[in-house]
């Protein structure tokens, strides 16, 4: 009963009257209404793991397993990093617990030619795109060495300034279009808080004016640090922000990996076919603190967390896989052991790293050599030498 073929419901962008290209149009006489605006909603897997077969995507067991493994890995990495942080072995970092389906579903929908432009709470997605765990540990322990890895040619590094990455995504997407790379599109993640930034709006507008092949995935996790979603913006949904740009707007259950996959897949297909951008709101929840520096008990209603625990994306996906006969307790146990080992290996590799040239930041100030930079590098190294001899 796989009907992914017929799933095109979110793509249309109804026009009650055509755009007026030479500005001849003026409003009709009297008072009238234009009601031709809409968004769509999608949930495929409910919180009990029941699938709505009508909208079930046509995914192989391998793909479904890959998706589940990624979500499990992400959660385990988060868990381990939290411990490392508490032990002072890495610095501040943002957990993505609860948001695995919103990050991994879209990543599964991407091909190697698509670009992944993230913010900082898409751990599972980054891992699926090949980012080594060791890199994340390096990054969150304050080393630029954590940023690059061989092969990550179409994934931008973590973007800290809220909303800024949305413009980079649109630029990349437009470049793909200009260069005729019709098999490439961009997936861009952002938070609910990011929708308040001017850059987000400019990105949405440029994307729609250029009909750039980009899919925005807004992880509405209900919070921007301590600010709840309803103080962030007054609109009932975030998806409806797409209407301002005549862009398809879709609200999906962000804890349903099938919904995030399907909506992204459809949007990517449309984007690659020249159909322009899509905005997807993935309704999810930040189940842990904002970052390890945050204390949510200051602002978070406990009952809210309780409700969302029941909507955890992992158990429901496991139940779905189990019901399909793809998953079992043994496989779960195996995966657990394997995941643990993988993380241990990464932590070991990370903690044995010593190849941090102190002057590395001078290497990449410019792509050309400038005397002033080299003078400062020499001065810097001289200072380090003097300090260690002083000590």
């Amino acid at each position: 009963m796989h009907r992914s073929e017929t799933y095109t419901g979110t793509g249309e962008c109804p026009a009650s009257k055509p755009a007026d290209s030479i500005g001849l149009d003026s409003p009709p006489g009297g008072l009238s209404e234009d009601q031709g605006f809409r968004i769509s909603h999608l949930q495929v897997l409910d919180e009990f793991g029941q699938v709505d077969e009508q909208w079930e995507p046509d995914l192989s067991s391998e793909d479904l397993t890959r998706l589940y493994r990624a979500m499990v890995l992400a959660r385990a990495v988060d868990d381990r990093m939290l411990k490392l942080q508490r032990q002072g072995r890495i610095g501040t970092f943002p957990l993505s617990v609860g948001q695995e389906a919103a990050a991994c579903g879209p990543a599964l929908a991407m091909t190697a030619k698509d670009w992944f432009v993230g913010s900082f709470r898409e751990l599972g997605g980054r891992l699926m795109r090949g980012e080594p765990i060791e890199n994340l540990l390096l990054y969150y322990n304050g080393y630029e060495e954590g940023n690059g890895f061989p092969g990550g040619d179409r994934m931008l590094p973590i973007s800290v300034i809220i909303g800024a990455q949305t413009l980079h995504a649109v630029g990349i997407a437009h470049a793909m279009k200009l260069r005729g790379e019709n098999d490439s599109a961009v997936v861009c993640f952002l938070g609910d808080g990011a929708t308040s930034q001017g850059d987000f709006h400019e990105a949405m507008n440029f994307a729609s004016v250029w009909q750039a092949p980009v899919v925005f995935i807004c992880m509405n996790n209900q919070w921007a640090i301590s600010v709840p979603r309803e103080k962030q913006t007054h609109s009932r949904t975030l998806a409806q922000k797409a209407i301002a740009y005549d862009m398809p707007g879709v609200q999906v259950d962000g804890n349903d990996a099938l919904a995030t996959y399907s909506a992204t897949k459809e949007a990517l297909d449309r984007a690659r076919a020249g159909g322009g951008p899509t905005f997807i709101e993935a309704v999810t929840y930040r189940m842990m603190m904002h970052t390890t520096a945050d204390d949510p008990s200051r602002y978070q209603p406990a009952e809210q967390l309780e409700v969302w625990k029941k909507r955890d994306p992992l158990p429901r996906f496991r139940d779905y896989l189990t019901a399909k006969g793809i998953w079992s307790d043994e496989r779960e146990a195996e995966l657990e052991a394997e995941t643990k080992q993988r993380i241990e290996d990464a932590v070991k590799a990370f903690e044995s790293r010593t190849d941090f040239r102190p002057d590395a930041p001078f290497d990449h100030v410019f792509g050309t050599t400038h005397l002033g930079v080299e003078e400062q590098r020499a001065e810097f190294l001289g200072n380090l030498r003097k300090e260690s001899s002083d000590a």
Partner: protein, 326 residues
């Protein structure tokens, strides 16, 4: 007299001014219920309510732009940028509008707002959380830039900034937030914007610095004085702009030697302006080149390397000794 750290002292100043003048309001990201990510506004939300301590949407330009409007309409907004590293998002509003309404309306509409922002490195934070952007703000005519260095002067200067009729960029050295406590007098001492403070008189050399660099500088001076006799005058700039050129000139005219310590990248920073001021006013008194101890002209590295890149007591000490020995 109360012993408090800088976070508490800033909180006190906000509380005092909000209590004194109901035109004073605070706004920013997470400053309300959460009390700010550094807890600087802790308790104010409960005390003054959400109309006066406003959790805003996540938009720096929006925060400053609406603060400008509120100031024009008679309020005294104290806006917080969560980190100075995000503050360039509001530079258009600051330079284009906050700095200009007074001139643009021949004094009819003014913009008495304060924009507070933690700045600088040393707290093992993520990218964009450790910058020192004061030179950029100081280059804007019509904007005042103030950087305290201790709990007491933070409290006094913030009160002065809130009462000031002009837009004030108030940059808080976040690595000093909880680094130490000091006695903070019951009544505010009357710090004046535009005045540097001679923290310690001396005859042989002038050290000029501000904000977070005061602590390593004090340490460097202490170390030097443990092993040699040299009389060092220390100036805490406190106001970056408009700069107190007279205090600088008087000191350097006396000592003939000067070291400037700046956390920001070297080039085009405040140290250069200080050197230019010395050049303008007292060049012929100089017995040695002024030395700059500064950050390097690289992006602030991630925290794994930040300590190597920020000026430390050792570098400052050597610069002072080299200048004395020049």
């Amino acid at each position: 007299m109360r012993r408090m750290n800088m976070v508490q002292a800033i909180n006190l100043a906000l509380d005092e001014e909000m209590g004194r003048d109901d035109r004073v309001i605070a706004l920013g990201q997470d400053i309300g219920v959460n009390g700010g990510v550094f807890r600087v506004t802790d308790g104010l939300h409960t005390k003054y309510g959400e109309d006066r301590v406003i959790d805003t949407p996540l938009a720096e330009s929006g925060i400053l732009g609406t603060s400008i409007g509120m100031a024009i309409a008679g309020l005294r907004p104290v806006a917080e940028m969560q980190f100075s590293g995000f503050s360039y998002l509001m530079l258009g509003q600051l330079e284009g509008h906050a700095a200009r309404f007074r001139g643009r309306t021949h004094g009819k509409f003014t913009v008495p707002l304060v924009v507070r922002m933690p700045y600088g490195g040393g707290v093992r934070a993520l990218e964009h959380h450790s910058e020192s952007h004061e030179a950029t703000y100081a280059h804007i005519p019509g904007v005042k830039v103030v950087i305290p260095s201790t709990p007491s002067n933070a409290r006094g200067l913030l009160i002065a900034a809130i009462r000031d009729p002009d837009p004030v960029v108030f940059m808080e050295p976040k690595c000093s937030y909880r680094a130490f406590r000091e006695e903070v007098p019951e009544k505010e001492q009357g710090f004046e914007i535009g005045k540097a403070q001679v923290v310690k008189g001396g005859d042989d050399l002038t050290v000029i610095t501000w904000g977070a660099m005061m602590r390593p500088t004090l340490r460097a001076i202490e170390e030097i004085q443990q092993h040699r006799k040299v009389s060092i005058e220390l100036i805490d700039l406190l106001t970056i702009s408009p700069m107190d050129g007279d205090t600088i000139a008087a000191s350097v005219a006396k000592t003939g030697r000067c070291v400037v310590v700046q956390e920001a990248p070297k080039s085009f920073g405040p140290a250069s302006e200080i050197i230019a001021t010395i050049n303008d006013k007292v060049l012929m008194h100089l017995e040695a080149p002024v030395r700059r101890v500064t950050g390097y002209d690289t992006t602030m590295p991630y925290f794994g390397r930040e300590n190597d890149f920020m000026p430390n007591a050792d570098r400052i000490r050597r610069a002072i000794e080299d200048t004395v020995d020049f």
